[in-house]
């Protein structure tokens, strides 16, 4: 390429100011290779330069937190000598152009983030967001993404136990594919991505390096889609990475064995920005220098140049720091697992700068004794990207949106409305192995997934862990702050349904273009909302990921903060009640019945209103103290059952998308037993969505009411279970079969639409 040299930095995505800052760091002009390294490491995706200032407002500490944000995964102490690692990440842009491989490599990447901590990955979850299925391209994306997750996750041997599935026009040009992974390790095996010990070796494990996703992070993750159809310009189209779950499986086993044997001092996965990221981050964390021999890196294709080798995003690779004495033993373990192991780096003494400070240099060399091709402070790549406090502005158009409250929307046919809200994601999760490792007590399809906390190599325990991923872009579009807070509360409620107490939060913040002041405002508000809710509940945020530039044709997606909650159950020997009530049970609504403020039963942002094309309105606050009491009460009830205690409670489900009506219908569909429910207070109560309410079925209403009263938790009787219809006062009257069949077939019907 013939470009005037002064504009190379721009082609690499660096601004003129950033270029000047690089010159200041180096005290000289960078050469092309050095510039390329800064280009990828200072990209939005790698450096979080637009979001980092705001992320600092999140609470990140707590008594169980072993590792907070900043490492590859957050880690909490789950008790019994077991630590649990968790991380969530986005793979939005790769999935938009090659849905199968984009989603598959997303799974591969998140697994590496977890086993790099020394944890065996135990489960994956996949929050997914697409445009409406009436569009053929969306159906192609859904098919591709789901088979990619299925193809990779099942083969690598980690169960996928839940996720989210949202269809909304705002994602048609820019789908979202987030993946969460949770793993567990004996607490003492915890390792970090740190290089230490001058003379030690950096060993590259796994696949050979090809020209995969060169510049991918900076070009792809940090640039929106220009085309109407969500297609990238050909010029910008990077080579797509292909996942190899078989390589990853062997890599997991090899790495865990190396860690078990104590051969590894530090380890780091190669994700976005590949080798330059792994070497500079490990060196920066350890305050040491590192010499990297580019020629030592095993290459898949001939003729690769140093820049390509250093920034390639070839999948299924890890970088381990070991002592030279252990090299032979490491090679032996890797050979047995048929995993390539090559020394590509040496840990070296940091330099002392003019002020007497130690500066670890990353040196890229042509052979360990050969020419130095690049030499830059490791920390400047990894930690010292410029941080931006970009302009934030609440869009003035929002007021009109808030004023367009759907409470004046005509009622219409409630039966049809209810049926149209029911979607069983079973078509998705049946394609995922959700049972591997014999831990899955509650798999996908209920409020939260519940696993036994067990796995090869873990201390014996009867504890359980619960997981839920949640998001509500409809709420967040109206009020990103309150919407995000409510999302956290709803997630905590989901965990309560399986008896688990929330312990930690991870988040994936999917937003539009941060150069749009309205998007920066949304991001900042969402972070504050998350901080509010987490502080109110005493929950630490132990990790996350920010995905910006989710836009297409200049239009940003609705703000989509996705949260993943990890809960713990002290004693898990029996399954939680689930949704299966019995004929004759009494039905109650537990929790605060009304939201705070003008609208007791807000419809703004509800699925009901959105389906009718009404996207405006206001959210209502909720009473957090009562919500906490309610959740503690439900946790106690369900945890008792999981611990093997007898109980009159037969079913528990929280009220979320679609409101009380949808919650009841979902339980009807699963149980195949109907219910007679008294008239609700207000039509809006049927479909109003706000967290903190639970539908509970009990065989002994008096006993249950006594316990709720003792706990100071509000509760009202709704009706009784039984019969072959769901009847809600004068508003809903549907047969059990209709409800079950509609819900079961909704997704498949939409996907098989021919056009």
């Amino acid at each position: 390429m013939n470009r005037p040299p002064q504009s190379l930095h721009r082609a690499l995505g660096l601004s003129d100011d950033e270029f000047a800052q690089i010159e200041a760091v180096l005290g000289r002009e960078p050469n092309d290779l050095e510039l390329a390294l800064y280009g990828v490491m200072w990209s939005e995706h790698c450096s979080y330069k637009s979001s980092r200032l705001h992320l600092r407002r999140l609470p990140t500490t707590g008594e169980h937190v072993l590792v907070g944000p900043g490492e590859n995964a957050g880690v909490i102490d789950a008790g019994d000598g077991i630590a649990v690692a968790i991380r969530i990440e986005s793979h939005n842009h790769p999935s938009a152009i090659e849905p199968y491989q984009g989603a598959a490599t997303g799974v591969g990447g998140i697994l590496r983030d977890v086993f790099t901590m020394g944890a065996r990955p135990l489960a994956v979850m996949d929050p997914l967001f697409f445009g409406e299925l009436s569009d053929a391209r969306q159906r192609w994306l859904v098919e591709g993404v789901v088979s990619g997750i299925s193809g990779y996750g099942n083969s690598v041997g980690v169960p996928t136990i839940g996720g989210e599935l949202t269809f909304d026009e705002c994602y048609s040009g820019n789908p979202l594919v987030n993946v969460l992974c949770v793993g567990a390790l004996p607490t003492e095996r915890l390792v970090l991505g740190i290089a230490s010990g001058v003379g030690n070796l950096a060993v590259l494990l796994g696949s050979r390096t090809g020209r995969d996703g060169i510049g991918g992070v900076s070009v792809l993750a940090s640039a929106g889609f220009s085309g109407e159809e969500g297609a990238l310009d050909d010029a910008k189209r990077p080579s797509v990475q292909v996942g190899d779950p078989y390589e990853e499986k062997r890599l997991i086993e090899a790495c865990l064995e190396l860690l078990d044997r104590g051969y590894v001092l530090g380890i780091q996965d190669l994700g976005g920005a590949g080798l330059v990221c792994a070497t500079s981050e490990t060196a920066a964390r350890g305050g040491v220098g590192m010499d990297v021999d580019v020629t030592a890196v095993p290459q898949r294709e001939p003729g690769m140049v140093p820049y390509e080798i250093m920034t390639s995003e070839s999948q299924e690779r890890m970088l381990a720091i070991i002592t030279p004495e252990n090299l032979e033993a490491v090679r032996e373990v890797c050979e047995r697992w048929e995993v390539r192991a090559t020394v590509v780096g040496h840990v070296v003494e940091p330099l002392i700068d003019d002020d007497g400070n130690e500066v670890g240099m990353l040196r890229i060399r042509d052979g360990f004794d050969g020419e130095v091709l690049a030499e830059v402070p490791a920390r400047s790549l990894a930690d010292e990207a410029p941080l931006y406090d970009r302009t934030r502005e609440r869009p003035s158009s929002l007021d009109a949106v808030l004023d367009d409250d759907p409470s004046n929307e005509p009622v219409g046919s409630t039966n049809e409305d209810l049926l149209s809200l029911l979607v069983d994601p079973g078509w998705v999760y049946r394609q995922y192995d959700s049972q591997l490792f014999l831990n899955t007590v509650v798999g996908p399809g209920r409020d939260a997934a519940l696993l036994r906390l067990a796995g090869p190599g873990l201390p014996v325990s009867t504890r359980g862990i619960a997981l839920s991923t949640d998001s509500n872009p409809r709420w967040c579009a109206l009020d990103p702050r309150l919407g995000t807070a409510l999302t956290i509360y709803e997630s905590v409620a989901n965990l309560a349904c399986v008896g688990a107490t929330a312990k930690a939060v991870v988040n994936c913040l999917n937003f539009g273009n941060p150069e749009h002041p309205s998007v920066m405002w949304q991001l900042s508000e969402a972070i504050d909302g998350m901080a509010d809710a987490c502080s109110a509940l005493g929950l630490p945020v132990i990790g996350g990921n920010v995905s910006l530039y989710n836009e297409s044709g200049g239009v940003d997606i609705d703000p989509t903060p996705v949260v993943g909650l990890l809960g713990v159950l002290d004693h898990l020997v029996a399954p939680p009640p689930g949704w299966n009530w019995r004929a004759g049970d009494a039905l109650v609504l537990v929790g605060v019945r009304r939201a705070v403020g003008e609208r007791s039963f807000p419809l703004g942002g509800s699925r009901w209103a959105t389906r009718r094309g009404r996207r405006g309105g206001r959210l209502s606050e909720i009473e957090v103290s009562t919500l906490r009491a309610t959740i503690d009460f439900v946790v106690g009830e369900v945890a008792g059952i999981c611990a093997g205690m007898a109980s009159d409670v037969t079913a528990v489900h929280d009220v979320s998308g679609g409101g009380i009506a949808a919650a009841l219908a979902e339980m009807v569909a699963v149980t195949s037993v109907g219910a007679q429910v008294a008239e609700l207070d207000d039509f809006a109560e049927l479909f109003s969505e706000f967290p903190g309410r639970f539908i509970v079925a009990t065989g002994d209403l008096d006993a249950f009411a006594t316990r709720a009263a003792a706990a100071g938790v509000p509760m009202v009787s709704l009706g009784t279970c039984g019969g072959e219809r769901l009847v809600i006062g004068s508003t809903v009257d549907l047969s059990v079969d209709d409800i079950a069949a509609t819900r079961r077939g909704a997704l498949e019907a939409a996907l098989s639409a021919l056009s």
Binding site: S147, Y246, E338, Y432, D433, L438
Partner: protein, 222 residues
């Protein structure tokens, strides 16, 4: 105590589950690497589920050339009990130790769901303790589980009681609703459902126990 070898191919992923399953029944089980050439000293061999060699090419296509497979063939020849679960079943058909083949599911999707099976023969090391006609709820987890064979083979299997388990509702297009089958002697069996995942009501079903109990029961070689 019955000694069981659970073979680990690179890419296997149900080996611990199989190990746990038979250990919970009192068997003495051990993981053995696919390069093993000797299986003497074991009373039974399990080829577990997973994706041996990534299932690249075809499920089982590369695994059947693993060094251990000669030993498995000899072990079977000597009347030893061999059980292939899911991927293990695919390996056994590829290796010719069981007839037929397993194709992609008719719906072209991976399926993870509970299935109800009927025990249609008790003449095998896996179904000996079960009763004819017994219904068992056991999950399936596979992409390529549609059993295929030619008419002649099917007639032979039907006639000789080698079809040991059938789906009550066919989930994958399997010929004859076949979920599991045995060789003529009944000492080599393969099935697509995972009995090791149905060992406790905490995880949804305990109906797999009767099958694995048959498998680990002390027996005189056929």
């Amino acid at each position: 105590m019955t000694r069981i070898a659970v073979v680990v191919f690179p890419g296997s992923n149900c080996e611990y589950d199989a190990l746990t399953g038979v250990e919970s029944l009192g068997a003495d089980a051990e993981l053995v690497w696919h390069s093993t050439k000797d299986l003497s000293g074991f009373d039974g061999v399990i080829l577990p589920g997973g994706f041996a060699h990534g299932d690249y090419l075809r499920p089982g296509a590369l695994a059947r050339f693993s060094p251990v497979m000669d030993a498995v063939a000899r072990f079977a020849e000597d009347g030893g009990a061999v059980l292939g679960i899911c991927n293990g079943f695919q390996v056994l058909t590829e290796a010719g130790l069981l007839p037929g083949a397993l194709q992609k599911n008719a719906g072209l999707k991976f399926l993870c769901q509970p299935t109800t099976l009927t025990v249609t023969s008790t003449d095998s090391i896996l179904t000996a303790n079960a009763t004819l006609g017994q219904e068992l709820v056991i999950p399936i987890n596979h992409f390529s589980g549609a059993y295929v064979c030619d008419d002649e083979t099917l007639a032979r299997l039907e006639g000789s009681g080698q079809i040991i388990l059938r789906y009550v509702e066919n989930p994958n297009g399997s010929r004859g609703n076949i979920a599991g089958l045995a060789n003529e002697r009944g000492n080599v069996v393969g099935l697509m459902p995972h009995p090791e995942r149905a060992m406790s009501t905490l995880l949804g079903s305990a109906d797999g126990r009767v099958l694995l109990e048959s498998f680990v029961a002390p027996r005189v070689r056929a």
